[in-house]
């Protein structure tokens, strides 16, 4: 074993990918499209999510290009509005919300708890089809003229003052919401009812805890978004008046309902990412996560408190001043569990035995960027500073630090970490470390200037802007180019590795999770026999003993 890595691969000359695994069990396109195997569905999700990510990314590229100059020269303002609206809708509903849960969660939740599949495999497939239906409808909307309401669908703009395709976009989001509800429901049932013998709640990997918390948010929050969208559609078509101030309705009510989902939605997006980070940091420092219970409960605390803070999106929008105080205070409370997590992850490194493979690099990136993203969230949760910073690029930078710097880093970290398990082959280490560093640099360059832009007062969603903001926008656009390269690289080398990557063996990372105690790629039924959990999560001593015994057995 080398001094710098924990990777231990089988002898490449003799190693083979196991003949019988979930990929080879059945062949043909239909065997994929009609599968009920959670691993295959996860792969379907992975492919489609990547597709939507690059569409959303291309739109982001257009936005950054337009903002290179202060004038509107690349596109007209209405085109620009459509582009940023679609960027938001695709990235949020078709990438961030399903990203980690539907791919890594789908693949690994059953494996981590020692189950053969999710509790409701057909529902799982249905949720992928719903996701695709929603996604394709969103793309269709884009091709027939788009929509320019912004992803927040603010009333009365979306109900009375735009002529674009609000209905079909709303329907797309509605359908995607169903998909997300079904995924969350499936996870909760699975985690409650399908755990292997001996796997008590406090032996669960933190990835499970995080996904469990996110699933609760999906199940309880998404329906409220659904009804808000239904009301928008009816308001537009029939003029029911619920959001129409001229008929006595209150347009702010829509925002209450919308943010009741959409604030918890950011936790839906970030919590599973936090789960990935817990796994990765523990594994690459060979240590149990510092304060396991604190991290587990902080996930649940985020999920619960996450429901009580939604109106902080509306501080200056005319909610009562008393409500502002209450929601501001609660927003401060929800920041605490995130801080707890950050410090626990950092302390996990203490006295560890740290190596710096790609997943770990991404996790370090996450730690730094999420700290910034989280702290700047406090700027916005404090009612006074929110007045100056809200609706400016500060907001844009803040949620991109959390969503892209946090979630996307975590997603890439997880993809690299579990890639050998999913495909049976390793990704190329050197180039992927390079990609991680490029992503980090590109990210900082893209989004850090936006904090300053926001402090200076540049409003968001502007196609043109006063010329004194140009230099920071140029930085940002330059950074976006680098970021684009950083995202393109993994696609290329991961596809390359499918054929040419080194054969990974069962447990290349020496990881402790149940998913690593079976072959890679796994069997369709995951485990040859149902595992029995007789140790805590992240018990590296147990693993060592296990491997020693195995070595003895093999030698014998």
């Amino acid at each position: 074993m080398s001094e710098n890595t924990i990777v231990s691969l089988p002898d490449q000359a003799t190693a083979r990918i196991p003949k019988d695994n979930y990929i080879t069990r059945e062949n043909g396109l239909l065997s994929w499209l009609l599968t009920s195997d959670h691993k295959r569905i996860a792969i379907l999700y992975l492919i489609s999510i990547t597709f939507f990510f690059f569409i959303g990314g291309a739109l982001a590229g257009l936005i950054r290009l337009e903002l290179l100059t202060p004038q509107t020269d690349l596109m007209a303002t209405d085109t620009y509005n459509k582009v940023f609206t679609m960027h938001g809708i695709i990235m949020i509903f078709f990438f961030l919300v399903p990203s980690v849960p539907a791919t890594l969660g789908n693949f690994f939740i059953p494996m981590m708890i020692g189950a053969k599949d999710l509790a409701l495999p057909k529902i799982n497939l249905l949720s992928w089809y719903l996701y695709m239906a929603g996604g394709l409808l969103a793309l269709y909307t884009m091709t027939v003229g788009g929509v320019d309401t912004g992803w927040t669908f603010t009333t009365p703009l979306s109900t009375h003052y735009v002529n674009t395709n609000v209905l079909s976009t709303g329907l797309a989001v509605f359908i995607a919401g169903f998909s997300s509800i079904l995924t969350g429901l499936n996870f909760i049932v699975t985690i409650h009812k399908m755990r292997a013998p001996g796997l008590t709640w406090f032996r669960l990997p933190l990835f499970i805890w995080a996904n469990y918390a996110a699933s609760i948010l999906m199940v309880l929050g998404t329906p409220v978004l659904a009804i808000a969208i239904v009301l928008i559609a009816l308001e537009r078509t029939l003029g029911i008046g619920v959001f129409d101030p001229t008929k006595g309705g209150d347009p702010l009510l829509f925002q209450h309902l919308f943010w009741f989902y959409s604030h918890p939605a950011v936790y839906i997006m970030i919590l599973p990412g936090m789960g990935v980070i817990s796994e990765v940091i523990s594994n690459f420092s060979r240590k149990r996560v510092f304060g396991y219970t604190a991290v587990a409960f902080s996930s649940v605390a985020i999920a619960v408190f996450g429901f009580f803070v939604w109106a902080h999106h509306m501080f200056i929008m005319g909610i009562s001043n008393y409500a502002v105080l209450v929601f501001s205070l609660l927003s401060m409370l929800v920041a605490v569990p995130s801080a707890i997590k950050i410090f626990n992850w950092t302390l996990t490194l203490y006295k560890g035995s740290i190596t710096f493979e790609t997943p770990m690099l991404y996790a370090f990136g996450f730690l730094g960027l999420f700290t910034i993203g989280g702290m700047t969230g406090v700027f916005l949760g404090s009612s006074g500073t929110d007045i100056h910073l809200t609706e400016t690029y500060f907001i844009v930078a803040h949620f991109h630090f959390v969503m892209v710097g946090g979630m996307l880093m975590a997603f890439l970290s997880g993809i690299h970490f579990w890639w050998p398990k999913m495909t049976g082959r390793m990704y190329p280490e050197k180039i992927s470390q390079l990609a991680a560093v490029v992503t980090f640099i590109g990210f900082i360059l893209t989004f850090f200037p936006q904090f300053i832009l926001g402090m200076l007062g540049m409003p968001r969603r502007y196609a043109s802007y006063p010329p004194e903001f140009q230099i920071l926008n140029v930085f940002s656009t330059a950074g976006a180019t680098i970021l684009g390269v950083g995202y393109l690289l993994p696609v290329l080398y991961l596809i390359w590795s499918l054929r040419y990557g080194a054969i990974a063996g069962d447990n290349p990372w020496q990881a402790t999770g149940l998913e690593w105690q079976t072959q890679s790629p796994p069997l369709t039924e995951n485990f040859a026999e149902i595992p029995v959990m007789d140790h805590e999560a992240y018990d590296y001593e147990w693993l060592e003993k296990q491997q020693k015994e195995k070595g003895v057995a093999n030698a014998g």
Binding site: L118, A119, V189, V224, L238, V242, K247
Partner: protein, 250 residues
């Protein structure tokens, strides 16, 4: 007597090692499977609660703002039809519960009868709802479609309702807000009716399967879970009846 029949039924189950045909491969036991399905159903009902939650929130806000409009608006609803429909739904919930009992105690005929009764009661509910909706259309109380304020500006134009409640005419600015009341009325009862229609569709499917004996061989999960859904719709209606029809009838 029932207890003994249950024991007999359980004893008739195939031995533990040979799994029943309905057990799906990824579950360890039929019990785990039924547990998981039941829990999933409850979670689904939770999402339904939140879905209706948005409507109830809107209702409460506007009811607070425009209370007189809501009172006179609700006087236009026919409380007899509303109460009848409540009774119909309560009976259908009862027959559904009996259906679940029949499935659990493996009475095929009883199950088919109960499901059929539930089906018929469900249809009657929708029938009554149609009568009520038609009345609204005739009175021009459908928001967005030739909505007319006449019944509120001049209650005497509506002698039947006037005879009972002697509503004072609403001022025009308040009368306008009856439209919001009816919007919410149609939204909430419409959403509820949509759930009924879906439920009735599934009931039809279940009756066919029940005749073939699909739910009376120990695998009654589907009936039980559908029962949960049906009772949930009943509960929603109980609240809708209290909130939309009975705001103030004195």
């Amino acid at each position: 007597m029932q207890d003994s029949s249950i024991h007999a039924a359980n004893a008739a189950l195939p031995a533990h090692e040979e799994h029943p045909a309905y057990l799906r491969h990824h579950f360890n036991s039929a019990e785990q499977q039924a547990d998981a399905a039941g829990f999933a159903m409850w979670l689904f009902l939770l999402t339904e609660v939140m879905f209706f939650g948005g409507l109830f929130t809107a209702y409460l806000i506007y009811r607070n703002w425009y209370y007189p409009a809501f009172v006179t608006g609700s006087h236009q609803l026919n409380v007899v039809w509303g109460a009848t429909n409540t009774v119909v739904l309560i009976f259908s919930s009862f027959t559904m519960a009996m259906g679940v009992w029949c499935a659990q105690t493996r009475r095929r005929r009883g199950l088919v009868l109960c499901l059929a009764l539930t089906f018929i009661l469900g249809l009657s509910f929708l029938g009554i709802k149609t009568i009520e909706y038609r009345e609204k259309i005739e009175k021009h109380h459908v928001p967005g479609f030739h909505y007319s304020l006449q019944s509120f500006l001049d209650p005497k134009s509506n002698p039947e309702v006037y005879a009972e409640y002697h509503d004072k005419p609403l001022e025009p600015d308040m009368a306008r807000h009856t439209e919001l009341y009816f919007s919410l009325y149609f939204l909430m009862t419409g959403m509820h009716a949509l759930h009924m229609i879906i439920g009735i569709g599934i009931l039809g499917f279940m009756i066919l399967r029940a005749r073939a004996g699909a739910y009376t061989t120990g695998h009654e999960t589907f009936v039980v879970n559908f029962g949960l859904y049906w009772h949930f719709i009943d509960i929603v209606w109980i609240y809708l009846f209290a909130l939309l029809y009975l705001i103030s009838r004195h």
